[in-house]
Amino acid sequence: MSFASVFEEVAARRRSLVVYSATEDDLAAVAPFATRNVTVEFRRLPASSDPFVVVRDGDGGFVGSTSLDTLEHLTRPEVTPPWGVADEDAAHRAFRELLDTTLFASFDRQQLLATVREFEERAWRVGEGRLHVGFQSGRALARQVPVYRRLAGETDLDVHLYVQPGEAPRAIPDATLHVETAAEIGAYWFFVFVPADPDTRQHCALLAEERAPGDFYGFWTYERRLVDELLGYLESTYGSP
């Protein structure tokens, strides 16, 4: 496997997002998720109805639903550091689970950062396990050094950071820095967390590719099998630096 093959597997999953609203303008809220295998539909509601989205799987089965307000929070989030995040509204987190392992076609850096912050906060809270994070550039890593110094230094997390050569910091205390020339390091932004106790079900991962400047294509997942696969791939490919 490779990052590219995982992408293909996720891209093949079919989902439909149905926007129930009085106005078709509300379709814009799900535009980031419209891809070849994620269809977006509109069903009209009477005027003055509160709009909502229904997520269905490839067989038309109900996966979940949420108000458009909650969905819009996901696509226009405020970004705060992980330990500063007050317990984010359970509904927003539940919504991310609703779109678990669903490809987004167009998110910007701020939107992705909000998801990563939630995952960092999860890793911080769990406090033990393996955390592997890949940055697009040495500068991107440098910006996050304060966060990862805390994660590595103040928890029992085994932290591995990946970056291409050039502008990479020399070392991060308590973390393992992998400086790799492989093309996929730098091409993908990734975050993979496997908790020490697998039964806590706190696995999470994000994999994103910048397809146009500032425009990301990718997915987040809570699926244990996929997260384990991603970690296994990183450990076997990049082992000890």
Binding site: V18, Y20, R43, R44, L45, P46, A47, S48, S49, D50, F52, V53, V54, R56, G60, G61, F62, V63, G64, S65, T66, S67, T70, D89, A90, A91, A94, F95, E97, L98
Partner: protein
């Protein structure tokens, strides 16, 4: 009621123009959601109504799950659709999978319109 548009009450001159069963049928948020949706689309499958009522009534409080949806589906099947049908507001097709809004009297239309206004403001 003084700030209600007079039009929404046109056709409903006396409360006894509407059967008690209709009032009782509409006195439930989930049943009103069914009527509003059918008013927009004329007909819908029970499956879609379960999705819509879940999203409309339960999604507003956060994320609604497939467990929520199953509770709604069961309530539709055992309670809501039978009461709406008994009140003459909807009809079912033979295998019970498709529901259609009945032809409403002017008084019923006015009552539904008024209820929709109240629900929109709440």
């Amino acid at each position: 009621m003084s700030d209600r548009e007079p039009d929404s009450r046109r056709g409903l001159d006396r409360l006894d123009d509407v059967d008690d069963a209709v009032f009782a049928a509409l006195a439930d948020r989930e049943r009103r959601a069914v009527v509003y949706f059918l008013h927009e689309h004329g007909t819908a499958t029970v499956a879609e109504l379960a999705d819509v009522v879940t999203g409309w009534v339960h999604g507003a409080r956060g994320v609604a799950t497939s467990d929520d949806r199953e509770r709604v589906r069961v309530a539709l099947h055992h309670v809501h659709l039978p009461r709406l049908a008994a009140a003459g507001l909807v009809t079912y097709d033979a295998d019970g999978q498709r529901v259609e809004l009945a032809t409403l009297t002017a008084a019923e239309e006015a009552l539904v319109a008024w209820a929709a206004d109240v629900d929109a403001d709440t």
